[in-house]
Amino acid sequence: AAGVIQSPRHLIKEKRETATLKCYPIPRHDTVYWYQQGPGQDPQFLISFYEKMQSDKGSIPDRFSAQQFSDYHSELNMSSLELGDSALYFCASSLGGTSGSGGETQYFGPGTRLLVL
């Protein structure tokens, strides 16, 4: 079965550069979530989109922005990169979002490992 696709898988950037991470959800999934996992940490929620609208926002820095496009893929744009942004970035998708249907399982992509030098 098709899974969540993330690109690139690995990314090396210098401080103050920008980065764009892409996420392609499972077909027919309408909700996308972004999580950041630092070394030895649990994944932390950044932001989510349902039907191309932002549905929730977590601990996402102002330097980061994201959007969901008409084909439901999502991009996380990161500017003025800092050393502390080095982490694994996961995208997850689900069907139903905040529609109130309850309990929609999120399926995760393989992640993008970002290293900021």
């Binding site: 969540v4 649990d42 994944p43 989510s48 996961f90 309850g102 399926y107 393989p110």
Partner: protein, 114 residues
């Protein structure tokens, strides 16, 4: 403040025996709980979930138990297999009327010895 807690960082069991992974939560509004397995350099893989209206859900070798009054859930794997060796994350969400974002525990490394 860690709303989902996995207090044991690691567990080692013998192949064929039962593995019991525990998870506690503090937010009584959580109503949907999930377990994910994660291998190095891969994303979390969904294992099993349970809604707060249930106290048990079983899927093959995996069973999740929920004790709402104690705000505690556990994952039982029986029989354990070496391929089960991975980091296991407990996660919770506000499925009804909430954002459905997942709040994760810090994970627990399970090692199943042949």
């Amino acid at each position: 403040d860690q709303q989902v807690k996995q207090n044991s960082p690691s567990l080692s069991v013998q192949e064929g025996r039962i593995s019991i992974l525990n998870c506690d939560y503090t937010n009584s509004m959580f109503d949907y709980f999930l377990w994910y397995k994660k291998y190095p350099a891969e994303g979390p893989t969904f294992l099993i979930s349970i809604s707060s209206i249930k106290d048990k859900n079983e899927d093959g070798r995996f069973t999740v138990f929920l004790n709402k009054s104690a705000k505690h859930l556990s994952l039982h794997i029986v029989p354990s297999q070496p391929g089960d060796s991975a980091v296991y994350f407990c996660a919770a969400s506000l499925a009804w009327g909430g954002s459905e974002k997942l709040v994760f525990g810090k994970g627990m490394k399970l090692t199943v010895n042949p």
